[in-house]
């Protein structure tokens, strides 16, 4: 369970959000500039809240009152960015393996095969990110996050940088991921159709505040 109650001043903009979600896929929905990415960065540990608490399954990751801030690299929270952010100097295989190596996990050939099959990236392993299409890059980024065996997966508009055709290419993978990977996800988007397909719970964010919370019905 993800539990969050934070305040953060970002220039003129105040982000003040609180919610609790037990859904398999928590959809963070709102217009651009509503504070979605900042909120996700706080969950990842890349941004420190000015005030408040963040916890997953009872484990406190941030508690400003107690001075707790678990650094991002110790959180075991996967993050798929809108712009993939694959390491350009490593090939796909090395990119995929990075999280496992950094977390000191044993080599798990079976899981590797499962993830590369799920995302259809087995034929790309020896390529560099520079030689991949936008859709392929995003699939590799998904695989890289998954193979670090995170306890929560954050997806910040993973389809945002792709054109319509590419979106349609990736969306089925995300659905399969939700149904097969058994990792809770926070999915950020401003696209209602995407949300309806993927999310099981919706947090509606408006100008830095949570304006509604509930099932997919919230969107209509």
């Amino acid at each position: 369970m993800l539990r969050l109650d934070v305040t953060k001043q970002l220039g003129e903009f105040t982000l003040e959000a609180a919610f609790e979600s037990e859904g398999r896929v928590t959809g963070l929905f709102g217009a651009s500039g509503a504070g979605k990415t900042s909120l996700v960065n706080m969950i990842a540990g890349l941004l420190r809240p000015d005030r408040g608490t963040i916890s997953i399954d009872g484990e406190i990751l941030d508690d400003t009152a107690k001075g707790i801030h678990v650094p991002a690299w110790r959180r075991r929270i996967g993050y798929v960015f809108q712009d993939a952010r694959l390491f350009p100097h490593l090939n796909v295989r090395q990119n995929l393996d990075y999280g496992r190596r950094m977390n000191g996990l044993p080599d798990d050939a079976e899981q590797k095969k499962r993830v590369t099959d799920l995302l259809d990236i087995g034929h790309l392993l020896d390529r560099r990110p520079g030689k991949l299409s936008g859709g392929e890059r995003q699939r590799v980024a998904l695989g890289r996050a998954l193979l670090a065996k995170p306890r929560l997966l954050l997806l910040d508009e993973p389809l945002g940088a792709l054109d319509e055709g590419r979106r349609a290419e990736i969306l089925p993978y995300l659905v399969r991921l939700r149904d097969e990977a058994r990792i809770p996800m926070v999915y950020v988007s401003h696209d209602a159709a995407e949300m309806r397909q993927l999310a099981t719970q919706i947090v509606l964010l408006q100008r830095g505040r949570v304006s509604s919370f509930g099932g997919v019905k919230v969107l209509s």
Binding site: L46, A72, W73, R85, P88, H89, Y98, R128
Partner: protein, 231 residues
């Protein structure tokens, strides 16, 4: 004309040794400093930045003399290093390497700093979310991506070190076989009657070394850049 005498060879080899040692010792320090200047905010940062650039704007003689005061036998650090660690800089080739290292440091640091500043911090964040602690992020992501700049800095530093004259001759004098580099050998030859041909030979040698270093750097930098862009 092209018979290089043993004395001249000694000067050439010494120059190469001095510049190589200076560059190899200065590079890790330069990388650390470049990282601090590029990525951290701390008290006295502008002062440190100015201090690094000082050898670039001071007359080399002044830098050499300051080195003599600090690292001479009776100098502030020189006495300590000689008594406790047995390291002597004064009138040794190691002193020439120190002088060359100090003089070339600003040229070494600058391209490294610029290339670290150019590394996309979003990639560093991505590494963090994958479980990489800060020093691993640096060695796995920042440094490899800044490699072309590191190579450029090393070549510039090496080129400057091999040509350094003023600070070196002030600090460690001009002793053949110990501190006489190509530059100081050329200087001595010009002052000797009939030294012109020999001076010219060394001039040609130094041009060859400089051009070779530049070509080498270009090749390395191209390869490194190609690697980074995944081609």
């Amino acid at each position: 004309m092209f018979d290089i005498t043993p004395t001249e060879w000694t000067a050439v080899l010494l120059s190469i040794r001095v510049a190589t040692v200076a560059t190899l010792v200065a590079t890790p320090l330069g990388i650390a400093l470049a990282f601090l200047l590029a990525r951290r905010d701390f008290w006295g940062k502008s002062l440190l930045d100015a201090l690094v650039h000082l050898p670039l704007v001071l007359p080399p003689v002044v830098t050499g003399y300051l080195l003599l005061l600090a690292f001479g036998r009776r100098g502030l650090f020189g006495a300590f290093l000689a008594d406790h660690l047995g390291i002597v800089f004064a009138f040794r080739w190691t002193g020439a390497a120190l002088a060359c290292g100090v003089m070339s440091f600003p040229l070494l640091v600058r391209p490294i700093r610029l290339s670290i500043e150019a590394v996309d911090r979003k990639l560093e964040q991505a590494a963090e979310t994958l479980g990489a602690r800060p020093w691993l992020v640096f060695f796995n992501v920042t440094l490899p991506l800044a490699l072309p700049g590191v190579l450029a800095g090393m070549v510039l530093g090496f080129a400057k070190a091999i040509g350094e004259f003023g600070a070196t001759i002030t600090f460690v004098s001009n002793i053949p076989g110990e501190t006489q580099t190509i530059s100081s050998a050329i200087y001595s030859l010009i002052q000797t009657p009939d030294g012109d041909t020999a001076a010219l030979r060394l001039v040609i040698v130094s041009i060859v070394i400089a051009v070779a270093a530049l070509i080498g750097a270009e090749v390395f930098a191209r390869r490194a850049t190609a690697r980074l862009h995944g081609n």
